[in-house]
Amino acid sequence: MTSSDSTDYKVLGTRPIRHDGADKVTGRAIYGPDFDTAGLLHGKILRSPHAHARIISIDTSEAEALDGVMAVVTGADWPNNSNGTSMVEDGTGTEIESNSNWLRENLLAGDKVLYAGHAIAGVAAASPHVAEEALALIEVKYEVLEPVLTIQEAMAKNAPILHEGLTTQELGEDSGVVSNTADHFQHTKGNIEKGFEAADVVVEREYNTVMVHQGYIEPHNGTALWNTDGRLHVWCSTQGSFVVRDSLSDLLDIPVSQIRVTPTEIGGGFGGKIPIYVEPVAALLSKKTGSPVKIVMSRKEVFEGSGPTAGSNIKIKLGAKSDGTITAAHAWMAMEAGGYPGSPVGAAAQCVFAAYDIENALVDGYDVVVNKPKTAPYRAPGAPNAAFGMEQAMNELAEMLQMDPIDLRLKNVATEGTRRVDGPTFRRIGAKEVLETMRDHPHYQAAKTEGHGRGIAIGFWFNIGFDSACNIAVNSDGSINLTEGSTDIGGSRTSIAMHAAEVLGIPVEDVRPSVVDTDTIGFTAVTGGSRTTFATGWAAYEAAQDVKKQSIERAASIWDVDSDTLNMEDGVIKSKTDSELKMTFKELASQMSDTGGGITGRASVNPKGVGGSFAGNMVDVSVDDETGKVTIERFTCVQDVGKAIHPSYVEGQMQGGSAQGIGWALNEEYFMNDQGNMANSSLLDYRMPTSLDLPMIDTAIVEVANPGHPFGVRGVGEANIVPPTPAIANAVSDATGNIMTQLPLTPGAVLDSGK
């Protein structure tokens, strides 16, 4: 472990047991599908078998007549509200325009279906089985259209058009040209022509990746009760209860004050549970029936009807001097948005060169619609696709220059003051420290086993601020109740509680954190963008400071002294001048009621001091000569986390991101037939890593404090999924001598790479 921060903390950096632990190891924790309430109906959703078709008619009469069916809804049941646009956050802190119609039509189709799995109608019935029977009785007449399944097909001249009204935004201007390319943008720095002229060597290559899924184990779910008082209450597994509330308000045309969203425990998300899917359909069904309606997706629906991340077509060209200095870089990247505009190409373009200080660079990004599910955020959206190309090109360059791949990266590494190609200038970052930790790590220092390949790569992801709120109520026994609005997807209740415990000098076990509903806490943005421990932790820090200030003032009033003469350290309030005057926070808490009433602290924050994170991987693989099967023999993940609040859960993020990246590299893909139907929509055929596929995953935490956060915290959750795909590709290249230009590196693809 490297540490540039020697501050002596009492709670931060320890590994307490999570507050929700007992419930989660005994089966008592209530996840979305576990929720039950009196009179509950069960909903199911009819989905399109066609990847591209016009809907001629929908006849629901037979379904409605089935015994036990209470209601059927279709796209015609959406309220006729504005056809406007709203601003949504794209996962990197950038607000992008989103067309409300697209969201609405993605959740219940309008006159066209744009992917196999596109929702068409919802049924509410007394049991899920009856609802399923009813789906089979809904008659939909389609005019089947030719599907567009790849970026190349979609961008081809005379390609079938998904949206007749979609014209390309060309460098910020509406081109007026109807096309499947929703947007083409550029980031430029310096002059790449001059840069390439100055280069001694040039690397240029094209890389392709395919659509993959987040693979959370719990399917999407939601229960809605549209009450007789006009208020809508929704219980669901979501990464952002306020996102659900605001999206429902937009879609259903009712004010946010009429909606209450209670986030249940959530069984994974990785970005995929930021958007909403079944909640508004359940709400429409509840409005029709007057009963609560629960909808839980099947696994097939999760694959075909939720939001995976994009496949991509990326070309990287790098020029460098013989000493390794990169003189020019060009990235041309097109990414699949799915059925509606909005691929992660924006973030990919920001990240592709982020690890390096490059004088002359150009990034071209293309957002392309195809007849596949509408993509949603997936852990560092777009960045792994970009790194798959860039970090392989870096290794190819190192080989041409006969340099160590880590040395080449260190030669060009981005540091404080480096201006990114997309504009912003980095504050203190830890890219260099990550590379140095990798270089000096026993894994990199160890000799390679005969026949194994070794690969390395690094990657960058952001940290976003946004709104978070926190309330703290002091109990008479000196413990505190902490309420916050960030869905706890991996132990964040505890990391947030640790912020408050540190400030107040009390044990973290004396903090009782609760994640509460949208009626009970101030606006809190999503659990995403690597922001939860950073931003909601910051809100807890501020709320605890508020409690601390009030506690000191209360003690001052009890002792009849000026509060400026007191301070509070390690849970004890004492006078700076009179050593007789001291009492513990616990003692003060027991006197609250007699000295003016309870103490409550509060904070709402929107922190700007975000600290992006760099991660690096070192991986050793063996490749079976006959079958092409790749086995991960050794894997090490290094990441700059600023300050590891709860190191066990930080390691867990690093290991989990690595494992998802390994799956992405070796096995996972949306395997589509030529009609655009997914051929592997089960967890048997969509092959995520099992315990038997992976070795132990070693972690090395680097702590380069984020100067923008009171405890130096950086975003941790996402950067770790960026380096695995290129690190593994580099390792396979090292073992086989062949460049890996496409994912996944299945046995067949590895064998073919030599041809």
């Binding site: 693979g215 184990i217 719990e218 994974g268 696994r299 867990g652 315990s691 038997l692």
Partner: protein, 160 residues
């Protein structure tokens, strides 16, 4: 409406009767009829292991067993793993080793791992990985789960 069948079982040591439709899986019966929602559904086709329970001494994915097939069976679910207010060593080890993040797969892992340790009190890392290969976890990368099982095995051996 389909006629329901009366099924008599023992669940976590207690006699439990329930009525179920022939098409309902044991998983549905446990969750929706009996109200034991600790057993989770991740895929409903036997591939994720979140619904793992012990049925007459063997671990099964309860989504692939029909409720009516459980007639006369002895079933153990996650709700029966702790003894009163005392967590099982595996449950403690999962907490102490941070072997869960979202926790949705945890009940299945604990039921599976308990069955492993019942048969093999001192498994190797490979034996643990092999045994747990039918339980998918998407959050942890399995490292801390394997360590938790090793830790629990060690502590259970020391205690016995």
């Amino acid at each position: 409406m389909t006629t329901k069948t009366h099924v008599q079982t023992t669940i976590n040591g207690e006699p439990v009767d329930f009525l179920c439709e022939p098409r309902q899986s044991l998983l549905e019966c446990l969750r929706d009829v009996v109200g034991l929602t600790g057993t989770k559904e991740g895929c409903n086709d036997g591939n994720c292991g979140a619904c793992t329970v012990k049925l007459d001494g063997r671990i099964v994915t309860s989504c692939l067993v029909l409720g009516v097939e459980a007639q006369g069976a002895d079933i153990e679910t996650i709700e029966g793993v702790a003894e009163g207010t005392n967590l099982h060593p595996l449950q403690l080890a999962f907490l102490e080793n941070a072997a869960l993040q979202c926790g949705i797969c945890t009940p299945g892992f604990i039921v599976s791992a308990k069955s492993l340790l019942d048969q093999n009190p001192n498994p190797t890392e490979h034996e643990i990985r092999f045994w747990l290969a039918n339980n998918l976890c998407r959050c942890t990368g399995y490292d801390k789960i394997v360590r938790a099982v090793q830790d629990a095995a060690k502590k259970m051996q020391e205690a016995s």
